[in-house]
């Protein structure tokens, strides 16, 4: 069963890194090792986590999706406009938002496949379009005052030992679980890995490339839409500039989570851990509270570097030379 260990090594290592990091923080700050901090980690990064799951699928299939941040922003605006100005009830608004986001993603997937254009560019254009549409709907930030929002926000799972899981946190956990099943217990999942492993081979083995490509970008869009809903709950508003730069945060999370940007290798759970690692870095910096704007940036970069080095190092140590596939 050393084979299994071999395969899950990146995952194990990443998780180890997270735990070590948390312990170090806890050692430095008294109030750090509290259930509240843990709860915050999950709640504050919920939308990031949900988006990252979609991104993981796209990257596994050998693509990339730069539009997610913009789609989140657009979704929040759409919701705000529908609910506040259109007087809709949130639930149908959610449905519309999800359909719109999913459709948008699928459309990008279609373009990518039919015209064989690089995903990086198509989704970059997608990013422009989604932001642009947001601006066109409204440039100012619109508060959402529907009572349901308040109720949803107060909704939470409280454990008597002190942990509080808010609705966003629960949603994220749910999505992650569903994603694991999708990735490893469905044909779609297998096709994704196949596509990322080698496109031509996949085609020669009868993988429905077109369908899978459209589906995976559609899924990513859908999850970005869901993340948008979470974000609008989280902030109780719609804002066209919301979640700028989130695409990079998600990609980083995915890669820290041990997924190969070249596609074919990686795990959803790893991404989840990656998201938490990023959240940890954020929290650490806030707890420290002495860093100026620029030192914050530098610290983030350095910590990122350290985490990646730790990963590489541990992999080499544990797996003998070169446990992971060369990304050449």
């Amino acid at each position: 069963m050393t084979g299994a260990l071999q395969r899950f090594l990146p995952l194990i290592v990443t998780t180890a890194v997270l735990v070590v990091g948390f312990l170090l923080c806890a050692a430095q700050f008294p109030n750090f090792a509290s259930w509240r901090v843990v709860g915050n980690l999950l709640t504050d990064n919920a939308f990031l986590g949900i988006t990252a799951v979609g991104m993981t699928f796209v990257i596994l299939s050998g693509g990339i999706d730069l539009s997610v941040g913009a789609v989140i922003g657009f979704t929040t605006v759409l919701l705000a406009v529908l609910i506040e100005q259109g007087g809709w009830h949130p639930v149908p608004a959610f449905a519309v938002a999800l359909i719109a986001a999913g459709g948008f993603g699928a459309a990008m997937g279609g373009v990518i496949h039919v015209f064989q254009m690089p995903p990086f560019i198509v989704t970059l254009a997608g990013m422009f379009i989604a932001r642009g549409l947001g601006f066109v709907l409204t440039t100012d930030s619109v508060p959402i005052n529907h009572p349901l929002y308040g109720e949803l926000n107060d909704m939470a799972l409280r454990f008597d030992f002190g942990l509080k899981l808010s609705l966003p946190a629960l949603l994220m956990l749910g999505v992650v679980l569903a994603a694991v099943v999708l990735a490893h217990w469905t044909r779609f999942g297998a096709n994704l890995y196949a596509l990322g492993g080698n496109r031509q081979s996949a085609e020669l083995m009868g993988v429905p490339v077109a369908r899978t490509t459209v589906a995976v970008y559609g899924l990513s869009g859908l999850l970005a839409g869901l993340a948008g809903i979470v974000f609008s709950l989280y902030t109780g508003a719609g804002y066209s500039l919301a979640a700028t730069g989130v695409e990079l945060d998600t990609i980083t999370a995915v890669v820290i989570g041990g997924t190969q940007l070249t596609g074919g290798y990686g795990y959803v759970v790893g991404t989840f851990v990656g998201v938490l690692i990023q959240g940890l870095i954020q929290t650490y910096i806030t707890f420290d509270g002495t860093l100026s704007s620029w030192w914050t940036k530098i610290a983030i970069g350095v910590l990122l570097f350290v985490f990646i080095l730790l990963q590489k190092g541990l992999l080499v140590v544990w797996a003998g030379r070169g446990g992971e596939p060369a990304e050449a």
């Binding site: 422009f128 379009i129 642009g132 914050t296 530098i298 570097f305 050449a328």
Partner: protein
């Protein structure tokens, strides 16, 4: 190797698109092509396109080669900020222009070296490797300027941004020089071939004896240098270093320019000139939007629309029907050497 990606089927769309966009601008704004002399410096919208396009064009030149090796450099924007910050603060502190330039370029070189080592030696995936510097680099730049916009008055440095050489604005001149030097570097040597080989298949190239690590480091260093020059230009242009905003998101424009120029993100064949054309297409588009008087809310949508059209033009699906690449040469049109010098096997 080919300096511009081979075959009319790959070149047509870029030049076509550039002309199309320029014409569109002209329709939106009749005096678009009007050019006059202003204080011994060419002046007009067309010049603006070249002038404002210069930084992205410079980035695109460096980025092209990085992308040709199947990599990408997200840190160029931050590197611009760093070199700019250094230039402005040093000038403020009264250093001489040569010293200032040397320092800024050195900074760019170091940044490139760092990226190159992460990618080539530590084998970190390029996006992430350069993301580190993209985040931290801007911090470093702000550290230098302490978050302020450091202004300077030295006309010498300002000349780089708003001066002119034979009535041609300096940024344009610098870009042309950079393009020429780079082209020479890759065409007059075998570097181009090796870059493409590494990009297409790192394993095979290494197996054939290509020094892949050195090639990789080299391209990232060069990319860093180009970014540094771009940083100098923007700083000199506004006579101040704006560490937080200099080159912000420009890495995306640069990548865009390269791809619009027809170089594949999967590495391999690259076209320097075409990347510069790509940069000009993007800038022409931006200038057009500014001249058009659309509401700013629409900027992004217009931009995306035009981009998609340009890219569709070169999508393999559509170019399939265009004439096949030139340079095809029936075997034996070159007569064999008189005496087979390389004679492992004599025909």
């Amino acid at each position: 190797m080919t300096l511009s990606a081979p075959g009319p089927s790959r070149n047509l769309p870029q030049y076509g698109a550039l002309i199309a966009v320029l014409l569109a601008n002209w329709l939106l704004f009749p005096d678009f092509f009007a050019i006059r002399l202003q204080d011994g410096r060419l002046f007009g919208s067309l010049i603006d396109v070249l002038n404002r396009g210069a930084p992205v064009a410079l980035l695109a030149i460096g980025m092209t080669m990085v992308i040709a090796t199947r990599g990408v450099d997200l840190s160029v924007g931050a590197v611009m900020a760093i070199s700019g910050a250094i230039a402005a603060t040093m000038t403020g502190a009264g250093w001489s222009l040569p010293a200032v330039l040397a320092a800024s370029l050195a900074a760019g070189l170091l940044c490139g070296l760092w990226n190159g080592l992460l990618v080539a030696v530590l084998r970190i995936q390029p996006i992430i490797a350069t993301l580190i510097l993209m985040v931290a680099g801007r911090g470093i730049a702000q550290l230098v300027t302490e978050g302020q916009i450091v202004t300077f008055t030295s006309p010498a440095l300002a000349f780089i941004g708003s001066g002119s050489f034979l009535t041609v604005p300096m940024p344009v001149v610098l870009t042309i020089v950079a393009l020429a030097v780079t082209a020479l570097l890759v065409r007059a040597t075998a570097l181009g071939l090796m870059i493409e080989a590494v990009g297409v298949n790192r394993l095979s190239s290494a197996g054939a004896g290509v020094n892949t690590p050195v090639v990789l480091v080299a391209v990232y260093v060069w990319c860093g240098l180009c970014a540094a020059v771009a940083g100098l230009i923007v700083t000199a242009d506004i006579r101040g270093a704006d560490a937080n905003n200099a080159g912000l998101w420009l890495e995306l424009d640069a990548i865009l320019a390269v791809v619009v120029g027809g170089t594949s993100l999967l590495g391999g064949r690259f076209g320097l000139v075409l990347s510069v054309v790509g940069a000009l297409i993007i800038q022409a588009m931006n200038t057009g939007i500014l001249l058009s008087g659309f509401k700013p809310e629409f900027n992004l949508i217009v931009k995306a629309g035009v981009l998609l059209v340009v890219l569709l033009l070169q999508s393999p699906t559509l170019t399939l029907f265009l004439p096949r690449p030139k340079g095809a040469r029936p075997i034996g049109t070159v007569k064999p050497p008189v005496a087979p010098t390389s004679g492992g096997a004599k025909p």
